[in-house]
Amino acid sequence: MQPVILWTDALVFALVAAVAGLVLFIRRHEHLCAPWAGVAKRPMAMGAALVLAVFVVIGLLDSLHYRERLPDSPPDKPQYSVEVLSAFDALVGPLRTQQEKTYSAPLAMRLYAKEFVDHDGVAVREYPRLKYGGAHLESEADRRADLVRRVLLGGAQGLAIALLLLGALAAWQARCSRQSYGEWLVAFGTGGLGWPGRTVATTLALIAIMLAVVIQLASGYHVLGTDKVGQDVLYISLKSIRTGLVIGTLTTLVTLPLAIVLGIAAGYFRGWVDDVIQYVYTVLNSIPGVLLIAAAVLIVQVYIESNPELFDTAAARADIRLLALCIIMGVTSWTGLARLLRGESLKLRTLDYVEAARAFGVSHSRIIGRHIFPNVFHLVLIAIVLDFSGLVLAEAVLSYVGVGVDPGMYSWGNMINGARLELAREPVVWWQLGAAFAFMFTLVLAANLFADGVRDAFDPRVGGRR
């Protein structure tokens, strides 16, 4: 086994480290904790955060890449497979390898297309049984009972896990707050915890039950069917999570330095600095976004094609294109936040304490660092969480236009693009489209609800009105 660190992997883990550092920093400062405590009080935001956490865990697992050693390579000079796998692939194992011939419906036992099947020497044209989906069953009559059994078993397992987690949480929380176990449970039941315990518990239980049921079903069936080349749709949808998360987060990582530096500089220094920065962002804003992205993606494509020696695997190629897409989307989308920060800095620089600092001869960088930036930080944070969902949705549209991620990459945009024309078939092949839209919807909805909570807690204007 040889670990592979793709560019986006490195950046994703750098981002995780940065977030962890930020959390530690915030925990040490009480005034920074306060708005987050406000977020934690909102049931919807907390439920959404839990769902997001599941997505993030899957995405992170999928970011630990490696290449398997070829079985027949000599031990002193090992050779590695060209296929890049991830910890997530290793975890779900059979989901990746159990390929059918072509389409099959969710939980089906037979293929979507007819084939000639040999019945005791007689060739009969029929829907053949699937190689893996429901292969453990003798006859199709058993399917219903088997499905019910698996759903019930999965539900019970999920519920048990959820109850166990809740029990552990209760024990820990009760110890922290020096309550007895019973007192804590009463507070939990009546909603007197100070944080939305019941919503969190319900969401947790739902997630656990759903995961357990899916795991139970997936060991015997293709839960969401298979796609055109027979690959499991559930597997593709889960792999696409990483792509969506990477686009949503790394793009903001590119946006932030540009928006913060240029926005604050324009508002704080005014004069010619302001003129130049305003000129740059008006120019960027006037170009229709899709065209700018298209042009830049084409450049990257040409670069990759003319320098094939730089990329040893298909995954590395697709990864560079994903990174390029993030950078390009970041470069085209910093203008909105920059404008906001400019306006806010313009206001802040005239405040008495900033003028006083300047009168004392404090340097510009220090004034910006100590007085301006902390006072616009809530705007930055709100922009990060609000932009995330928009970026995830934009990926699908860009992939449709042909300037999105690499066509070989797992992404919801590519899934939609590939399945769009299959709706014209009879019977309809709906599961691939449905799965892509459902996963995308869940992620975006959770992100939106969480963003709302963050905005309500951080934006002083919204907070005052409620």
Binding site: V283, V397, L423
Partner: protein, 325 residues
């Protein structure tokens, strides 16, 4: 006022030059004139002479930005950039790679684009404002709360889903409207209906929620309290006072996109087979037709700048306190 307009229009020139320079650089990093010639000539006819001939015919035989062989200002004017981009300021876009006149193409395709984009804009605005007013009327009740949740749900759905679902259910399953296509004159109506419906529905979520916040901000102001103190009914307060004042930021905010309606929508047009500017642009991106893309970028930039100027004018018109100078 006149001086202000003149200054804004003059300020547009450096921006347009910047836009041109940027797209020019981007595209010529991708493919050199040689590549373009090779792509256009096809695999069969590629000889160095043929490439040279194509470059001369299409005006790509000059240096990109700076011609060192010339003297004086000709150093800048006798280049590909100047020959191809300066003409754009006179709205002469030249020919696309398929040999058709781009200006002509834009003129004929603007109609269908507008036939979709304008109704979506107008009806969308009406629907969103009514929906937002409804939520504001029932503010701080469960109706309002669930309205907002519904908005968040609606805006979390991918735009592609609205189009695909609309086409599948309304056109294919229930056979109510044609799936895609376009016709001239009065026949266009039935083709326009579905895209407009999809466009309006997909915009409700974010639109209604945004307008709701605007109205809520308005409703907390002193004049509303005065109106209530006078004994006006809630409906009257809402429609006579809040709606009127809330419409100012809504309308002035919408003005900036008004000129851009001419450009149409990329995705909607290509899904519904509308022969508008949006599908023209998508085709050009996919065929890597630089002249068309450059023309569309220029057109988009001009329309955007017009939108910005119109926004300033509409502010001054709607709010007497704003003076343009």
């Amino acid at each position: 006022m006149f001086a202000y307009l003149l200054r804004r229009i003059l300020y547009a020139i450096p921006i347009l030059i910047g836009v041109n320079l940027l797209t020019f650089t981007l595209f010529f990093v991708v493919n050199t004139p040689d590549d373009m010639a090779r792509l256009q000539l096809g695999a069969k006819h590629v000889t160095p002479e043929a490439i040279e001939r194509w470059k001369v015919e299409h005006g790509y035989d000059k240096p990109l930005l700076l011609n060192r062989e010339m003297q004086g200002s000709a150093q800048f004017t006798d280049t590909i950039f100047f020959k191809h981009s300066a003409a754009m300021f006179a709205f002469e876009f030249g020919k696309g790679d398929d040999g058709r006149d781009i200006g002509n193409e834009i003129a004929t395709r603007m109609g269908p684009s507008l036939a979709i984009a304008l109704p979506v804009f107008v009806i969308g605005l009406l629907v969103n404002v009514s929906f937002a007013l409804l939520m504001v009327f029932f503010r701080a009740t469960y109706l309002d709360l669930w309205g907002v949740v519904l908005c968040v749900v609606l805006m979390s759905i991918s735009g592609l889903f609205y189009i695909i679902a609309g086409q599948y259910f309304i056109a294919k399953l229930w056979n109510l409207l044609p799936i895609s296509g376009f016709a001239d004159g009065i026949d266009a109506f039935k083709f326009v209906l579905l895209p407009v419906l999809v466009g309006v529905v997909s915009g409700i979520g974010s639109g209604a929620r945004w307008y709701r916040t605007i109205f809520l901000e308005e409703i907390g102001k002193d004049y509303v309290r005065t109106a209530r103190a006078k004994g006006l009914s809630e409906v009257r307060v809402l429609f006579r006072h809040v709606l009127k004042n809330g419409l100012i930021p809504i309308l002035t905010g919408a003005v900036v996109v008004l000129p851009l309606l001419f450009m149409g929508s990329l995705i909607t047009e290509s899904f519904f087979g509308i022969p508008g500017l949006g599908s023209y642009t998508i085709d050009a991106i996919q065929a890597q037709d630089f002249s068309v893309v450059r023309a569309m970028v220029f057109l988009g930039a001009v329309l955007y700048i017009i939108g910005l100027i119109l926004t300033d004018l509409s502010y001054a018109w709607a709010d007497p306190r704003v003076r343009l100078q």
